[in-house]
Amino acid sequence: MTVVHQQGGSGRSGPKVAIVLRTKDRPLLLPRALASVLSQRFCDWVLYVVNDGGSKERLDETVAPFLAPFGDRLRVIHHDVSVGMEAASNRAIEASTSAYLVVHDDDDSWHPDFLAETVAFLDRDENARYSGVVTWSELVNERIEGHEIHTVGRHLYNAWYEHIDVQRLLGGNMFPPICLLFRREMIDRVGPFNEGLPVLGDWDFNVRLVLAADIAVIAKPLAYYHQRVDLISPDIYSNSIHSGRSAHKRIDAEIRNDFLRRHLAQNPGDLGPVAAVARDFVRLGERLNEVETYLTYQSARVIERLNQVEIYLAHQSAPVIGRLGQIESLLSHEGPLVRRSAQLEEEQRRVLAAAADLAAKVQVTHEQLGALQADMGIVIDVARGVRTAFRPARSIWRHLMPLRRLIAKLRRRA
């Protein structure tokens, strides 16, 4: 490891925030990340760029246009050989002295107020009990074309949490690293990032963080979580969550197994209750699967039927609309002459009333369809949520298979 840029030195004890930016041969994305950091309204920070085994020359070339605006606020750490994301973070954290830490991935970015708001929050005396603070984020879907990064869509991402509860975070990661500013002292309490994890190191760290002290939430989308949408296979510009989907699943299971293994090692008596709960969870999960399947089937039938109704109504209303058009045309061309015809006026009123009635029926049908779809959606979401929540129990149940067989065998003998 070599520290390359440690320019100047302001003689200060250390900037308030250390920003850790890990990268490896992504010259198109890195300039945006550097610009994101430079655009922060809060300026008391130092940026550690960790080149984790990428080309040194290419990184220096990419960073060169930014050296002047960074001044003495940039440190570049080159790793000749990649040590992995989490180890890269740890090296930068070890090199820093700042009170607050944040990991800024090389493909993500911030609103200019991110540091100003998060630092101000953690600085307040009444917030001393928090281990860190997260903001909401916006998911930016993008596509790389040549030397350009094109945004193809953006929307709020997980912007519903107003507090971070342990149970929910154990169910799955709730926020990407770009959202979290945490206190340096927490590293001493919960340990560094787990260098043994190729992915999900952030989730593992977040869990340890929240088990030590609460994480606060600023309910504003001040972080941008960027994802390349059309790069599924491994590529220098892909997101690990996409290209390493199977690895994510495996590591996810292993982390959960480890949690449970450690718990049962210390509390062997809990095996029975865990097994019982796991059985109930699995059964409930199976039942929910059945309900979900049934609801999906019924929903499809209802939608199909409503489509038929819609087509029928459209078919029925076409002649009315056509007739209306004719009347409108007559009125516009013949004006005074037609208006003198009481019969035509009467017909016009009747047709208009019929059309309004028809439109009202169509509207009611649409609203009913919408309400039905919304209800279905809620039920399906609940079912999925419960399934997700029961995943650990299923895992336990599967892992207890040898024990269950043994018990069954013993029962048969008895």
């Binding site: 300039p31 430079l38 911030w110 350009e148 990064i149 945004t151 989308p221």
Partner: protein, 678 residues
């Protein structure tokens, strides 16, 4: 008697006051409105006093305590008025009642609230000025033995108003009737009974003068008085526009330029005044921000890019460079066309889209000219064979697609012209030192950063050792597309990392800023090399030039004159007040909350079509006739300034208020912005 400018054509204020004097001498009492008649405040509108109070609070308590006071004070007054009216039937509110509800918007300790009230009163006092014409008439009436009184609808107490009058040279002994003290007001006429009863004079023996046509004239006459309408200094308060301490410099500059008009204002004077107010803050703040960015010794040269950089470079050379250690600077003649033509050899989608861009109808010859192929015999022959004649006007989407196909069939010719233009552009850039290495800065209005990206492409192609960065007013979210390859881009008021709402506001500002930074030369069409020098070739547009002379030149000259005075020192506005926040406040005030006069004047500016700035252009604000919402939305599409369009529509067709409001709501701006169309 009621007399005003609009009643009898133009009547000079002097003549108006003489008539008031003569009439008053025949009566027993002359009554004066206080604010904007007997005294005026050196702020653009009354709510800006709160911005000054916020500044004082900032100096006393710091930003955490002071912030948002001004806006909270505005909101608190609205609530207090509403509560007073609804719960007690009060026609006026008091300052104490306003401060009683202020903690709902600005939760602070009683001690801080007391300080805030004192800061507000101090700001009132320090910014109150006598109105000379009124003061003169007041003195002459005193000498003539006519009794003088003051009558004001205001939340301030009698003691506070008295202090303002005395500070402005009026006598302390004159009767003063203040609506907040008596819960009787001018606006409903109830205060006049109190006045006649107190003075024991019949109402017909009183003549009143004031600036509010309805309250001071119409209601007074209905109450039996004689009344004169005083034109005052300002008629368009923006009560809905956001108020913060950043508005202070603009407010002062507007107030300084709000004079009692001795003659109808001509267009040039109006544009000069706009420049003296808005241009001063916007240009001044950008130049100071720029100087801070490049003044640390690590920049070798600054290029102000044509055409928007012309006025900025002029100011830079006069006001910044002689007084601060800044790098050398020059004007860089570039345009979208000169930078895009060298990239045509790839015939990328972007290049073809560029060549066919624009909404006006163009001839085949124009499309060839755009690509630099009008002198190419092969290209001309191909186009004639495809379209029949070079004079054919391309009108339909299918025909435009045919133009695109034509471009693709001329790939060889385009590559040839691209090579030619690349050589001549690079010759110009080399001549201007862009390839000489070091750290160089381009200065432009901004938006996508495409100009910088194109220049960086040229540098990379030649392996030039130059590190190029860009400094801009603003970058829209679309600038993200160029972040990966354009180098460092920084912006003063907003950048591509901002939220969608701010980005939307910036786009409204962009359309105005582009107009206000126009230069006195046409667009850069190409370059010519003669005698070892490469010089730009321009394409001028007569409509655009007339617009420049009529509107933009006086605007820029107004700003230059005011900035000279500020930088010289001793000006009510300090140089340090011209910062990015004050620029943003000024841009919001002008571009998002235009007064009817501003909407009309700026809305007439024409946006020229395409990169060659062709044709007569279209006004940036629509002048919508009687249209349905659907038709109006369709008509708005050709015009870039939504706030100006809606303001104009409302002014010309008040009956369409509901439709205007509906369209405003659909613009995804905030409720405050929408409420100006209520």
């Amino acid at each position: 008697m009621t007399q005003s400018i609009s009643d009898a054509g133009w009547v000079s204020p002097g003549a108006l006051l003489e008539r008031f004097f003569e009439d008053a001498r025949q009566r027993r009492v002359a009554s004066f409105d206080v604010f904007d008649t007997a005294i005026w405040r050196q702020v653009a509108q009354p709510t800006h006093i709160f911005a000054l109070a916020e500044q004082a609070l900032l100096e006393a308590f710091g930003n955490d305590v002071a912030r948002d006071f001004a806006q909270a004070r505005v909101d608190a007054e609205m609530l207090a008025r509403e509560l007073g009216r609804r719960e007690h039937g009060h026609v006026e509110v008091t300052l104490d009642e306003i401060y009683a509800v202020l903690p709902r918007f600005w939760p602070r300790s009683p001690a801080v609230l007391l300080q805030a009230k004192q800061a507000e009163l101090a700001a009132e006092l320090s910014h109150a000025r006598p109105e000379p014409g009124i003061q003169d008439i007041y003195s002459r009436l005193k000498e003539a033995g006519v009794a003088t009184i003051f009558v004001s609808d205001v939340y301030l107490g009698e003691r506070d108003v008295r202090a303002l009058l005395v500070k402005c040279g009026y006598q302390a002994g004159d009767p003063l009737f203040v609506s907040s003290e008596h819960r009787k007001a001018k606006w409903d006429g109830s205060i006049w009974d109190l006045v006649t009863e107190s003075l024991a004079v019949p109402v017909a023996d009183i003549i009143h003068i004031g600036d509010n046509r309805r309250v001071d004239v119409d209601v007074a006459i209905e109450s039996g008085l004689s009344a004169v309408h005083w034109p005052g200094r300002s008629h368009h308060f923006k009560f809905v526009a956001p108020v913060s301490r950043s508005i202070a410099p603009l407010s002062s500059l507007k107030a300084l330029n709000q004079t009692i008009l001795e003659a109808p204002e001509d267009e040039e004077v109006r544009w000069t005044k706009l420049g003296r107010a808005y241009g001063t803050v916007i240009f001044g703040a950008f130049l100071r921000w720029l100087a801070d960015r490049v003044g640390n010794g690590d920049v070798d040269h600054v290029y102000f890019c044509s055409r928007d950089g012309q006025v900025l470079l002029k100011l830079w050379r006069e006001l910044i460079a002689p007084h601060r250690p800044v790098p050398t600077a020059s004007y860089l003649y570039v345009s979208r066309r000169t930078l895009m033509l060298p990239r045509l050899d790839s015939l990328s989608t972007q290049a073809v889209e560029f060549l066919r861009s624009g909404t006006e109808r163009r001839t085949v010859a124009t499309y060839l000219d755009r690509a630099g192929l009008l002198d190419d015999p092969e290209a001309v022959a191909r186009a004639e064979s495809l379209f029949g004649s070079l004079d054919k006007v391309i009108e339909t989407p299918d025909e435009l697609d045919a133009v695109q196909d034509c471009y693709r069939s001329l790939a060889r010719e385009l590559a040839r012209t691209a090579r030619h233009h690349r050589e001549i552009v690079e010759g110009y850039l080399r001549q201007e030192g862009l390839f000489d290495g070091g750290r160089r800065i381009v200065v432009d209005l901004g938006w996508r950063g495409s100009l910088q990206r194109s220049l960086v492409d040229h540098l990379k192609r030649r392996n030039a050792p130059t590190v190029l960065s860009g400094l801009y007013y603003g970058l829209t979210r679309e600038a993200g597309v160029n972040r990966g390859s354009a180098g460092w881009m920084d912006a003063m008021v907003s950048n591509d990392f901002m939220d969608a709402a701010t980005d939307h506001r910036l786009r409204q500002m962009a359309t105005i800023l582009e107009q206000l930074h126009s230069a006195d030369h046409g667009s850069v069409w190409s370059y010519t090399a003669e005698g070892g020098r490469v010089t730009p070739v321009f394409r001028a547009n007569e409509v655009e030039q007339r617009q420049y002379e009529r509107s933009i030149r006086p605007f820029q000259e107004g700003a230059v004159a005011e900035l000279r005075a500020i930088f010289k020192g001793g000006h009510p506005v300090a140089v340090e007040q011209l910062d990015p926040k004050s620029a943003w406040a000024a841009l919001v005030d002008l571009c998002l909350y235009p007064s009817p006069d501003e909407a009309r004047a700026l809305g007439e500016l024409r946006h020229m079509d395409g990169f060659e700035h062709a044709g007569a252009g279209v006004p940036i604000a629509a002048s919508l006739p009687d249209l349905s919402r659907h038709e109006a939305e369709a008509a708005l599409k050709g015009h870039t300034w939504i706030a100006g369009s809606l303001k104009n529509w409302l002014a010309n067709h008040p009956g369409f208020r509901d439709t205007v409001r509906d369209i405003a709501r659909s613009q995804n701006l905030d409720d405050r912005w929408t409420s100006q169309f209520q």
